[in-house]
């Protein structure tokens, strides 16, 4: 009957491609879905922007006097805090950004994606790309707000894309961690507990709010291991002093490598979780 007619037509129409050749396109379409979803939740976008604004306003005022402590490296605490807030928002956006995969799994959407002839890796890279886009947008808005509040940016216009690049690379490290957790833990409650447990120590063992040499020694040692520090140091230079090429190169390399490692780990854990 017509069964075979359709069959051969279908086989002709969709040539068999290897799974790697479709990775970029598949990544983009998974990302497209995430961005559409995000766009549909205007309140979420609003909250992710209003929160840093409040921090900027509050912390700038509350801790203004810290800047007066001898040895404090910035003119005003707000100048000092602005890159800290960019990284903080990046941390939250990244580490919560991958958790949606748990809902996709529970609602059966993940299975539907995986029944399609897409690259398995695209499920991970697509979500990471969406987080990168979201982070770049947020960092840009916070940067604009900070300027409007009188924050000084020493590196000038050329420093802006570098600032965004640092934020995006950092977001990929945390998105990777988030997706690893999402691949291993299938209960949303357990996941939230772990993520909440992680975020605060990550903040306070970095130099987001305090210069390293004003910290206790043990804390300063931990801060060296914290990926946040590798984004904050070069960002802070961009704000306070301008171009510190060595620090910038070190930050970019460490963040890019960590991001790649986390991406690989997330894809591998994710594939294994689907076996």
């Amino acid at each position: 009957m017509s069964g075979t007619g359709i069959a051969s037509a279908a086989a002709d129409a969709y040539p068999v491609g290897s799974r790697w050749t479709t990775l970029p396109a598949d990544t983009w379409w998974i990302c497209w879905r995430e961005l559409k979803r995000l766009w549909g939740q205007k309140i979420r976008i609003f909250m992710t922007l209003i929160q840093p604004l409040i921090w900027l306003a509050l912390m700038g005022n509350m801790f203004q006097r810290i800047a007066a402590i001898p040895g404090f490296p910035a003119r005003s605490y707000l100048d000092y805090m602005a890159p800290g807030i960019v990284t903080m928002v990046t941390l939250f956006g990244g580490i919560f950004g991958g958790l949606g995969i748990v809902w996709d799994r529970r609602l059966g959407y993940l299975q539907k994606l995986l029944a399609a002839p897409i690259s398995r890796t695209a499920v991970v890279t697509g979500k990471m790309l969406a987080i990168a886009v979201q982070t770049a947008f947020q960092a840009l808005v916070i940067f604009a707000l900070a300027l409007a509040m009188g924050v000084h940016f020493a590196a000038g216009v050329a420093g802006v894309p570098v600032l965004l690049l640092l934020a995006v690379l950092l977001s990929q490290v945390f998105a990777g961690i988030s997706l690893c957790l999402g691949a291993v833990l299938t209960s949303h409650e357990a996941l939230m507990a772990v993520v909440n447990f992680l975020t605060m120590p990550l903040m306070f063992t970095s130099n987001a709010m305090m210069p390293l040499d004003m910290m206790p020694a043990w804390l300063a040692k931990l801060a060296v291991l914290n990926p946040l520090s590798y984004a904050i140091n070069p960002m802070r230079s961009l704000f306070l002093t301008g171009w510190d090429w060595a620090g910038l190169a070190r930050g970019l390399v460490v963040l890019a490598l960590s991001g790649l490692i986390m991406t690989a780990a997330a894809s591998s854990l994710f594939r294994r979780s689907m076996a």
Binding site: A7, A25, K36, G40
Partner: protein
């Protein structure tokens, strides 16, 4: 119909990590162009089987080929051939209906121009043109399921897997979905593999049905043949009272080991004995194939030519002065086939679950 096998399994088995043997050495073929059904209660292994065939989980042992290729060796190729509509309604609520279909087409790597046209056609087919640009969050359950099925067809697969396509839907939506499934097969030659625990659905929709229970296929044939194999029509007679049995026919037999209803008293036990004796006599009447005395003073018979056999049975009972409370004559259904092969009613699971829920609720209230 070509009759060539489009799905073929040999001793296909899945044991989950926890130790559950979900699918146990299942072998069957689905022929190109047919609507093939897996009928079985919850937990029978239907979804697990579909997930192995759609490359979502790996078989523990055994073999499965889809469109001629092994699912484990060529998963990517197999995915391109088939459409899959899972038992979860897997549409994205925050996208519109149109966007859901468009995304699905992109994931099957369709050309944008072809895809746009096809999205339009499919939205028309499943009657979702009007709400197409509303977020799916505003859709009813039936609308979501129709969208989900349309998504499974976006790349015009020659083989479509539908896992419980009408689960929890109202009667109207259900018959609409049956209509789509028939049209896909008739107009586009799509082979359909569906699972269901609705007997009526399997009966009306499927060319062939495999009855699956505890991970095993217990029967596989056309619905007509399965029902015919039962040997005739079903007559259920409820007696006004079991009545005394004259002549001691079969009186000395040991009691059946099947327990009566819900553990009743000795008086009832005697009644059951009498009923059994009566049943033994009825088994010797013309046209009667088999007799089974049941609980509650009922007798179930399989008879040839039910219309002619029923008066014979009633005559016999009145000659024995047994009063009859009611008689039911019906053609066998797949429910009866299921009962025959598994000793349980297909609806038992649902009924039992509902009963336990109610019992718990009552206990809580009384608590």
């Amino acid at each position: 119909m070509t009759g060539e096998a489009i799905v073929e399994t040999e001793e296909l088995t899945k044991r989950y990590a926890g130790g559950t043997l979900a699918v146990d050495r299942v072998s069957f073929q689905v022929k190109a162009g047919e609507v093939f059904g897996f009928l079985g209660p919850n937990g029978a292994g239907k979804t697990t089987t579909i997930m192995m065939l759609t490359t979502l989980i790996r078989p523990t042992s055994g073999r499965a080929t889809v469109c001629g290729r092994d699912v484990v060796a060529s998963p990517h190729w197999v995915r391109q051939q088939l459409g899959y509509v899972s038992q979860d309604v897997a549409v994205d609520e925050s996208l519109t209906g149109w966007e859901n279909l468009y995304l699905q087409g992109r994931l099957y790597h369709l050309e944008p121009a072809v895809l746009r046209q096809r999205v339009g056609e499919l939205l028309a087919t499943v009657e979702l043109e009007e709400p197409a640009h509303r977020p799916v969050a505003t859709y009813s359950g039936g609308m979501r399921k129709r969208l989900d099925i349309a998504a499974g067809l976006i790349h015009r697969p020659r083989l479509l897997f539908l896992d419980e396509p009408t689960l929890g839907l109202d009667i109207q939506t259900r018959s609409r979905i049956w209509e789509y499934i028939r049209r896909m097969r008739d107009e586009h030659g799509v082979t359909v593999f569906l699972t269901t625990h609705y007997m009526e659905e399997a009966d009306r929709l499927c060319d062939r049905v495999a009855i699956i229970d505890h991970g095993r296929i217990v029967a596989l044939d056309t619905p007509a043949a399965l029902k015919q194999a039962l040997g005739g029509d079903l007559v259920t007679i409820r007696l006004a009272h079991p009545g005394p049995v004259p002549g001691g026919v079969g009186g000395g037999r040991p009691p059946l080991d099947r327990p009566a209803g819900d553990g009743q008293q000795a008086g009832h036990e005697a009644g059951h004995e009498a009923l059994k004796a009566l049943a033994a006599e009825m088994a010797r009447l013309p046209l009667v194939e088999s007799v089974q005395p049941g609980a509650d003073s009922t007798v179930q018979l399989v008879v040839r030519e039910g219309e002619r056999a029923t008066p014979v049975l009633l005559d016999f009972l009145s000659s024995r002065r047994v009063r009859v409370e009611s008689v039911a004559l019906k053609r066998p259904t797949l429910d009866d086939v299921f009962l025959r092969y598994t000793g349980r009613q297909l609806r038992d699971d649902e009924g039992a679950a509902a009963y336990h829920r109610m019992a718990r609720a009552v206990r809580r209230v009384r608590g």
